[in-house]
Symmetry: D2
Subunit: 277 residues, 4 copies
């Protein structure tokens, strides 16, 4: 059990009335519990919270008139990551996958798993299935890629990253997802808050569905995996941007932070599976 | 009101025990009602029907031992397409889109709408919004593309199709979806049965979300739009193949047909909007 | 007849002994004559001038030790662009193309003409052949694209540009070349100095082979076409970068300019064909 | 010294007067000598032989009226491949590359070497330079790819092949070329006749420029490398198709063969470098 305090601030200049969707709220699940939170809009404006069922998270929608606009979010979150005593050593057979998981086997905009069947066979075919295989994928990604800020853009896909051998967190996640799906393992993109990220920012990682539940993976090794606070999940980063808008606006500054505030249950360095199910 | 009798047969040789998912069942909605249906497996095997919530359709899952295997489906379907007396002349503002529709604004594997913002502005920016604009997109696609069987494959995307100027029904649909999303109009891929398709086959078309409901579009002009029987819907064709399997199997023959069996309400050629909401 | 004074300066910091190739020298041809030139290296280092036959230009090769390094080039160039009294109204038939031109019909790294056969048929098929058709291509490019600095990078191709509808001069040229080749018209990329470019920089444009000779085209409309001073030509921009090196070096500043210095023969705005043959 | 008898037949039906270029003639060089040859056109038609300087080969150009048309080629070729007693253990420095070789460092349509700099560093960076490194590339390609007829098409590139892990001879060659260029080694595509190819066909392989001369490589291992008869060379397969035409024609049948006809000097299995310089 770990307690994380998360904070984010987004400061905009709105040129023309704009409708925003923000995905910055910490989610509630058996894995993580929001103990308290505060959403502050400046100027104060009415907003909606909408549940996105596919990713089991909430987004915030607001329409903003011209002028300066800020959104500040603070939350205290308790993580109850189930640290498995044993690694899940099996992958759920296709015939047993829950209906809501099936779509996460399909290729998506940034994860062209349909192109990688031979590549994964060749590269990961002999690794034992389950947690060990997905860990093998993450290790391979970590070794193969260079983490280079600015090396990719919003149209970069997993295949691009595989070829160019460089990327940032979202690219690492996309490649992990694509490789998992190509092996028949459902996988999804997750955005979140991460402790110790340098420079501080929103983070992107992924989950793989093994033995009936979702497990967190982060091939970047940039933050402790058992202190990730999940915001949104989806097929890939297209489903989980921290902000989307229609209108005309400029993001002037952004502040993101996450810190452990209670030392209970910490200290162990987790290399064991972290399940969010 | 139109009655359609649909039929499909899939004959396989199974080399190794294989798990299949079939998306061939006609869906139930306010738009279409399955009056009666029969699913026949040969050999007779237990199968599941699973509801796929995102597309509001059902799939059929079955595990098949080695040997010959056939699946036959027959259904009588009543279509209650709401023929609008007036075209929806507005597109739902971003701020009012239902939560479950938001993901259908995002780019997907075969519909890279994120690349087409300038293209759509330039090409469709001056067409009045709503049904007229999506119709303009369909007309443009019909004029721009040549329908050429075999010109594309399972990795062909909307952007490829735009450049190569050729494709088949799924490509026409992908391009329509990508262009709509680039304009801020949610759109989804729909597979189905179509009356009069030559050669007979499963069909692919799309829906755009206008003024609070889904409207059917088919840029191929290969079949009457008010006689399309919907099977599955999803982000793109990756979500709606008629069959997927894990194992080893060969599709030997496939028969697909759809015919009107009741002449009530037919004869009118529909160019008015067909809503499925 | 027009006289242009061109000037370029490249200031580097060399971290590790580096071998450079520079393509900044004005070329000599029946079209343009270098009346005088000066190459200054600081520190003074021995360099080679190599003739590149495919593009009929010269490059400059030098190996540079660590430290600061500058290359300055000045030349006075006389342009004798043949302003045709009549537009070439024919395209050289495939059976009559000179051997050295044949390779410029082939697709290249940034000009995937092989993908555009249907697109060009549909878009330019009815324009009369020759100068009028290539002019039609340039007009279409000018209308279709937005010139946006930074919108593309060194891996952007003609097809990308067609889809994204934005680019810079090299992208305009690549698209022009790809469309010409897809129509069976040999075309090549040309780098050069341009009068009046804002901001000043090296420029990229293209040539099409019509009726037995090369004609200059520039879809950007950013500089008068009869005042372009040619440096290098090749299949696409991959063959004509102003600098390439192996080693470790940083370009600190770059100055480029081109100005008419003799007012004879100027004033006429040329929309007639400019032949460089 | 090896003697090879090559033979090819191309049988067309011409629907509309068509202009053809054929690249099927065995080349002459210090490496290979055409001892005798016969070109037979049926019907008999005047044709040109054009020297293509960039690849130092000849092509055959002919315009053909409607009706049946056949081209038959027979040649006896002596190969004088210099089997080096020592592997070239160095790569020619950038500063010393001959001018005519420089363009073969650049990316081309099917060989996007510009994208592979990190990939080659990571994968081949520690292999000693020269023949050993290019051999390492060929071994890696052989292990990584599956040779699958029909798995690729005329728009497939080296990067596609790297990702999809399958291809045919031209794809193997493209990947070899792209990887070499990314390492700073000039490389070019070569088409030719190969002894023992099954099924018989024209073959595609590549040459790398090492220590001042060209060396043959063939990552497919489908034919003995010291019995390859070179036809054409170029940047990639776009420069060396066996036939190109403008008009309307159908290739009905094609026969290709190559056989050693003199047993002198054969029997040794060559794994030593084969230089064509």
């Amino acid at each position: 059990m770990t307690n994380i305090r998360v904070h984010s601030e987004l400061h905009y200049t709105i040129q023309r009335t704009s409708s925003f969707i923000f995905a910055i709220l910490a989610g509630n699940s058996t894995y993580q519990t929001v103990l308290g939170e505060r959403v502050t809009l400046e100027p104060s404006l009415p907003f909606e919270r909408l549940a996105i069922d596919t990713g089991h998270h909430e987004i915030l929608r607001v329409t903003v008139p011209p002028g300066p606009f800020s959104l500040t979010y603070d939350a205290n979150v308790r993580l109850d990551a189930r640290i498995a005593t044993e690694n899940p050593s099996s992958e759920t057979p296709f015939a047993d996958l829950p209906a809501e998981v099936l779509g996460l086997l399909n290729p998506s905009r940034y994860c062209e798993s349909d192109k990688l069947d031979r590549f994964v066979d060749r590269t990961f075919g002999t690794i034992p299935p389950g947690f060990e295989r997905v860990t093998g994928i993450c290790n391979w990604i970590y070794d193969h890629l260079s983490y280079i800020a600015g090396s990719t853009d919003s149209s970069t896909t997993a295949v691009d990253v595989l070829v160019r051998a460089a990327g940032v967190c979202r690219d690492y996640a996309h490649l992990g997802i694509a490789l998992c799906r190509a092996l028949g393992i459902p996988a999804r993109y997750v955005s979140g808050y991460a402790v110790g990220l340098d420079p501080p920012d929103f983070h992107g990682f992924f989950e793989a569905f093994l033995d009936g539940r979702w497990y967190l993976f982060d091939a970047t090794r940039m933050a402790p995996i058992d202190k990730l606070v999940r915001i949104a999940a989806g097929r890939d980063a297209a489903d989980a941007p921290f902000a989307t808008f229609v209108g005309a606006a400029t993001l002037d500054t952004m502040v993101v932070s996450a810190a452990e505030y209670d030392d209970a249950a910490e200290g162990e360095s987790t290399t064991a599976p972290v399940s969010t199910a």
